[in-house]
Symmetry: C2
Subunit: 410 residues, 2 copies
């Protein structure tokens, strides 16, 4: 918010919102959880630039919390969406683009023999669990402690309104700890339906961890031995790390996978992909929604996936992420500020040494924001194909201001 609160449109909108929306805003987009100065409302966006209600422009490192993988208002995607919107969207059945999209995904993702579409990442992870239970006739699901798989009662981080029974059949392991996975699998005995794992470890506020290949292979083996489904929750990372699924680099393939966020460059869509072992189970579960055959988001998805392939999106984002990471490390050294950078380069996290109360992260982000870059102090950030070297360099200038602010804290 600008210093002149009385003239801030953002502040005025927040005040009106507090009357008609509990807490001003639900969930993860609530700017009340961010350091001083972050805007809540945005009026426009293009490429990797975002403009807030008070007219401030930022180089954006959150990409709408992930969806924007090609950049805001990508011309190819928006043209495809507009062409479909001029024909029809939610009709009495799907448009032909449904088949084109399903064939595109099955052709692109090696483990996938089939797919289903929904609207939310949570729809996709929930459908994976339901299909695994239907296919195995078993109930227990192994979940990593602290992992985020969505906001339904079985997985939401807040227990308000959740009953014990909503989580009756979850057992927990520690991410990247194969031994703990084995213990949990044994606890499930003959009732193990699924192991669900995020593409990498991205628990809020702690260093990101790439998946240990030995851990991933152990998960695959436990599922092979017990007949349980290995579910890859690729909602957050999907299509940024590898177009064939985030574990293709490790060479391990899941039975079921959940995608959303980046699949249609911001149009609401999610998908489950599965192998033939679970095809019949997927026909037996009943999961549907009024907008799930909406053709506009599917046309946007086909355009997004084709464009990601044409550009080799993951490689571009990795290169831009590495440019940022290298530049930031040099700046931090120059300021004498200890930082920890973690995660895949396309989805980086920056934390500060000796920052238990998160004051350094907050000071860094607030100062960088004033200097024109939108970073996040606790959550992994997201690069896009719209980020070019000049944008990264601009963000590094803003980061320089942020590091100076941290250095001044002593």
């Amino acid at each position: 918010m600008p210093n002149d609160l009385a003239n801030s449109l953002d502040a005025a909108l927040r005040q009106r919102a507090r009357q008609v929306i509990p807490g001003g805003l639900w969930g993860h987009l609530n700017a009340a959880n961010l350091p001083e100065g972050y805007p809540q409302y945005f009026v426009s966006a293009e490429g990797c630039r975002l403009r807030d209600a008070d007219g401030r422009e930022f180089v954006d490192f959150m990409c709408g919390w992930g969806p924007m993988v090609l950049g805001y208002r990508n011309p190819m995607v928006e043209a495809a969406a507009r062409r479909q919107a001029e024909q029809g969207d939610a009709m009495n059945g799907p448009a032909p683009v449904l088949v084109e999209l399903a064939e595109t995904l099955v052709g692109m993702i090696p483990h996938a023999d089939w797919c289903l579409f929904q609207k939310n990442g949570t729809d996709a992870t929930t459908a994976c669990v339901t299909i695994a239970r239907a296919g195995t006739g078993r109930r227990k699901v192994l979940v990593a402690r602290g992992s985020y798989h969505g906001a339904a009662p079985w997985c939401t981080p807040s227990l308000a309104g959740v009953t014990t029974e909503d989580r009756a059949h979850l057992l927990h392991y520690d991410y990247n700890d194969a031994a703990s996975l084995q213990v949990a699998a044994e606890e499930a005995k003959g009732d193990l339906a699924a192991v669900i794992v995020t593409a990498f470890r991205h628990d809020m506020g702690r260093d990101l961890e790439l998946p240990d290949p030995a851990f991933v292979r152990a998960a695959r083996e436990i599922c092979d031995v017990t007949g349980a489904a290995l579910i890859l929750d690729d909602v957050r990372a999907g299509f940024r790390l590898h177009l064939g699924g985030s574990w293709e680099g490790i060479g391990v393939r899941p039975d079921l996978a959940a995608y959303s966020k980046a699949i249609a460059n911001g149009h609401a869509l999610s998908a489950v992909t599965g192998n033939d072992r679970f095809r019949e189970a997927a026909t037996r579960i009943y999961t549907t929604g009024s907008f799930w055959c909406g053709a506009v988001s599917m046309a946007a998805a086909v355009a997004t996936l084709n464009e990601l392939r044409r550009l080799d999106g993951p490689a571009h984002m990795r290169a831009m992420g590495e440019r940022f990471r290298t530049g930031l490390a040099a700046l931090a050294a120059r300021h004498g500020v200890g930082i920890r950078q973690s995660g895949p380069a396309q989805m980086p996290l920056v934390l500060f040494e000796d920052d238990a109360d998160a004051r350094k992260g907050a000071a860094f982000c607030s100062a960088a924001l004033r200097a024109g870059a939108y970073f996040h102090p606790r959550h992994n950030m997201f690069l896009s194909c719209a980020h070019q070297a000049a944008d990264i360099d601009l963000a590094l200038q803003a980061a320089d201001a942020g590091l100076a602010a941290v250095a001044r804290m002593g």
Copy 2:
């Protein structure tokens, strides 16, 4: 499908889809569940007309299973959506239109002091239940036998992949039976969190029933006495029967209500509205999604609600529904075919006497389809503001052909 299957694009698309989508299509839009001749794929739509992949055009009585309340590709709604899309959709926070939409709903729906937005009807009904549990600190929810409240494990009609615990705290009553509601409430003892009720009874394949005012008042009273939340599931009926909520005619107001389908004329959106008793609980639950602040569907919703108000949409749809109902009754009498028409005129259902195996309904619908009208044999249909007298009369001509086919069955 046209008789010449070899040249049917619809048949070709279905065959490709069977390879990459389990069962060809998930959920309620699967045309395999419909009588002979129904198309699966649609290439375009406008107003109340729908065109399938083989170029056949229909007067549509399903409106995309409800969303299309102003007609397909309504110019006012699409212009508003396009204007917002040219600024931004899913960004790092909402656009100002979020506040405008929330204020519109709170201004329009008398029980509503606040609202939340999601993507699916299921998101909204599930959030209502979670908020009710958070607000009361109790667990039991009373659900009518056979009512549809969405496709999550707690409410989906198929039990495949669902565990007993997913439904541990549901107790059942019979719709429109106040005594059964009282019995279920007593069974819940001090643990009653909510009573959830659809706007009217619309169980698939049986005559629709309007809500008995005495039953609705009993539900309100049980909640008042016990402190439980009365949840109106207005996902299917909302904005077609009354712009202030479907029970405004009865004069009973819920504590929480779920909306979706018609709220944005086909753009993916749902909403929870609530009163101040549950505001604090709504701040405590965690429910969110990557696309829930998408500004395009919100701009579409504002335009839809304003247009419904300007046109007095419910009155227009009622008049068109009554024209259809009266015309159909006269035709049925002329053909000597016994039919039962039920439900609100805006959302009519037509069933046949002596039709336990549903063959008459199938013959009626198939023949009407060939004559250019898209009806449904078992599910309530939907009128829209795009239906004008001439469209109804065209549909009646097709219904005439359908009734002739039934009469020929003897």
